[in-house]
């Protein structure tokens, strides 16, 4: 039998070993961790329903301030609010794509909306303004985050269910938001006194565009200026990313274009008007998205810019943004970028650690907020009537 000299055999043996390691590392993790993402992308009913059941179950059990760990009462309140909002959006999107799940998931949607309307959840906004957002709809103050995020849910509920119980409130909030957009000196409504964030205005704008489409009530005159700002003025001149914060008195940028704000705003806008959101998705794709071994990520800042993480982005890992990475999943689905969607979903699988429990499936590092966000992102789709 043919045999090699020992030193050649040893060299071949170790060369094959290295090739095996490199090959397996390059292909096995991306295949294994990408299977679930590919199923979410196509809207596989069993995969989506398992996560939706978990989120609906969380809404049924209730989410309170004590479920969150920040030392800041405002941030705990925002996260409690965000959990209900993302849960409602994710469940509504699931119902739109899978009408057979409507009866099962609708109680979860109603629980999420009831949570959004509860005094406990409204408290973070009311404490900042010194007035309740819903009791002061005729007043002049912004309440951009609370009203915009809530109204987007109500408008989507109305677009999804012909017998929505929230149409009157949706009409009242829409009228208040339209009036405030129309009166805003720099087309931006304050989130809190002295604080203005384009991403929060994106939710309000999307809610009005959706309300306009569903009801036929024309908000065009009030929204023209803000729409123009989202198309040009509020975009970073170099990257096209959405500016994270503005001075509401001057309309000048107070922070750069960043992934966390751009990706979340793009998701909101894509629900109502995909063409308005498309340039933001292109900017994210071009300037911030990357991949290592098939695991996608989105940087918080564009190349050449430096900055730290904060409550919006989460802690940055070598510049990678947890929030930006998660939120970009939504627009990659809306705009049919399967490769980016699956690569980001691989990262969500790796870092989120999904587990099955009964007929539910959830991400163990997600908690109530993370799972609600991922359901909303995985199932994102424009509202087409």
């Amino acid at each position: 039998m043919f045999s090699l000299p020992w030193n050649v055999a040893r060299w071949v043996r170790w060369s094959v070993a290295v090739l095996l390691f490199v090959g397996a590392t390059a292909f096995v993790p991306r295949w294994w961790c990408g299977r679930e993402g590919a199923r979410y992308y196509t809207g596989d009913p069993a995969t989506v329903a398992a996560l939706a059941r978990h989120v609906a179950g969380t809404m049924a059990r209730g989410v309170s301030d004590s479920d969150f760990t920040s030392d800041s009462a405002r941030f705990r309140g925002e996260w409690q609010f965000g959990t209900h909002q993302m849960a409602a959006l994710g469940l509504l999107q699931t119902c739109r794509q899978h009408p057979e799940l409507r009866d099962e998931l609708r109680p979860g949607i109603e629980n999420a909306i009831a949570g959004l309307l509860s005094p406990a959840v409204r408290a973070f906004d009311a404490q900042s303004w010194g007035e309740d957002a819903l009791d002061s709809l005729d007043g002049p103050y912004g309440h951009a985050a609370y009203l915009g995020y809530l109204n987007l849910v109500l408008a989507l509920d109305r677009a999804t269910f012909a017998d929505s119980r929230h149409t009157a409130l949706n009409d009242r909030i829409s009228a208040a938001l339209a009036r405030r957009f129309g009166a805003a000196s720099h087309q931006i409504i304050e989130t809190y006194p002295g604080e203005a964030y384009p991403v929060d205005n994106a939710s309000g704008l999307a809610s009005l565009l959706l309300h306009q489409r569903v009801t036929g009530i024309d908000h065009a005159a009030a929204l023209t200026g803000t729409l123009e700002c989202f198309r040009t003025r509020w975009r970073d001149p170099r990257t096209g990313l959405l500016q994270q914060a503005l001075d509401h008195r001057s309309g000048q940028a107070m922070d750069r274009g960043r992934a966390s704000g751009t990706a979340l705003a793009a998701y909101f806008l894509a629900l109502a008007d995909p063409e308005l959101a498309r340039p933001f998705f292109r900017s994210l794709r071009t300037h911030l998205a990357g991949s290592i071994l098939g695991f996608g990520y989105v940087d918080e800042y564009a190349a050449g810019e430096r900055g730290g993480g904060d409550i919006d982005s989460g802690p940055l890992i070598f510049g990678m943004s947890p929030s930006g990475t998660g939120f970009t999943i939504a627009t990659s689905r809306v705009f049919g970028d399967r490769a980016l969607y699956v690569s980001l979903a691989r990262t969500a699988y790796l870092m989120g650690a999904p587990v099955a429990q009964g007929d539910e499936r959830f991400f163990i590092t997600g908690g109530p907020l993370g799972n609600a966000i991922l359901l909303a992102m995985f199932t994102a789709q424009p509202v087409v009537r």
Partner: protein, 86 residues
Amino acid sequence: MKRRSPSLRRILIEAAALVAVHFVLLRILARANLLEHLLAPGADSRFALGVTAVFLLLRVFFFVFVPGWLLVRLWLWATRIRADRT
């Protein structure tokens, strides 16, 4: 002193132990809200952050590097006799 090649049994037991540790940690951590600690750490988050970091490092090693590492060990085990003879 020449190091002995690990037996097939040892390779498989070590791989099974990694799977078991990962699975047990997964089930334990399923009861904790970790994202909140990660994104908005509070005064009581230090322990949760430490556990999360260890778990995620183990998970990255498990999913990204273990398949190749296991394959290499099996390859080296399968070719060890011929290598030892030569």
